[in-house]
């Protein structure tokens, strides 16, 4: 009997170790992606400023649009990148908390997942708004797009936002079960 108990304990310990290892890995991966996005955003910011100062040399040097268009698309890309960085930051925080605690079902983790979902939804709505503004600017002649629309509305962002909302809700339910379990003990 004690041997079975010993094996169970060892299995649990191993599972917990694997869990912590994966949390560390995911946290590192997300941090690296976030850092890359931030570096990219900083580089883009410099390019936009240079573009404005040197007129049609860098970001808008493609034949597809004018300098005004270059700045518009540059700012759009910059805001999109920052939104993704914020969403990833919530992911990093969630994994950090997952790694540290005894149980994954904690309200603070559910809140972080929900916040990441909200940011993804906001990014999706922002791209829709930018698409509308692009249309208006193009029709008034402020920007000239020789190709078709350059802002693509990615519907998968909404799907990922919805999935994160669902996971957050399930985590909330898990928190209630955890609370019940702790109270029973």
């Amino acid at each position: 009997m004690s041997k079975v108990k010993d094996i169970n304990e060892r299995t649990l310990e191993k599972e917990k170790k694997d869990f912590t290892e994966f949390c560390k890995f995911a946290e590192g991966m997300l941090t690296a992606i976030m850092a890359l996005i931030i570096v990219g955003a900083a580089a883009l910011f410099i390019v936009i400023i240079m573009d404005n100062a040197m007129k049609n040399l860098t970001y808008s040097s493609s034949s597809k649009y004018t300098t005004a268009g270059g700045i518009f698309y540059g700012v759009y890309d910059l805001i999109s990148m920052l939104c993704f960085a914020v969403a990833l930051n919530f992911g990093v925080k969630a994994f950090k908390k997952l790694k540290d605690g005894e149980t994954p079902f904690r309200y603070e983790i559910a809140d972080k997942i929900k916040a990441a979902g909200i940011v993804l939804f906001a990014t999706g709505f922002f791209s829709i708004a930018a698409g509308i503004v692009e249309g208006v600017l193009e029709s008034t002649g402020v920007i000239v797009v020789t190709d078709s629309s350059l802002i693509s509305i990615d519907l998968s962002i909404f799907m990922w936002g919805a999935v994160l909302f669902a996971v957050a809700y399930i985590f909330n339910y898990g928190c209630k079960l955890q609370q019940e379990s702790d109270e029973t003990l």
């Binding site: 599972e15 869990f19 994966f22 995911a26 991966m29 149980t103 994954p104 079902f105 919805a162 669902a166 996971v167 809700y169 399930i170 909330n172 339910y173 898990g174 209630k176 079960l177 955890q178 019940e180 379990s181 029973t184």
Partner: protein, 154 residues
Amino acid sequence: MEAKIERIKYSARLMMGLSGLMAVLMLIGCFACIAEAVINREFAVQAAKSAGNAADCAFYAATAFTALRLLGNIVSMGTPFGEKNDKLIKAIGIITLIQGFASPAVRASLLGILHADVTYTSNSALLFTGMIILFIAKIFSYGQILQQESDETL
């Protein structure tokens, strides 16, 4: 708690509709890509690309069908931590991981046979997503234990 369960059931039903729609669309997409490959059989490179797209659609359809089963389980059992749910989530994770490796491999090997200029790169976004899904499956296994405890207490 009852209200929470009702909301979970309602959301699961809504997502079942979306998953069902996605599964049907992906199946249609898969057949359309196969048809495109057959029509373009004389233009071998184009046909190989269509075959790769068909493989992608087939993987997405498999994911959507598994998600449909998972959501059906949630609706019928009234809890996200029902029996077998962790295994279904694990299956979705494994399908996503295989897709991340296999789908570009199908495309690259078909194009390689045709001596087209091609390099194999796995879909890293899908690989990472697959790993996160497998991780969620692990959390669900723990949730199942809690659910069992809760049911036994009641």
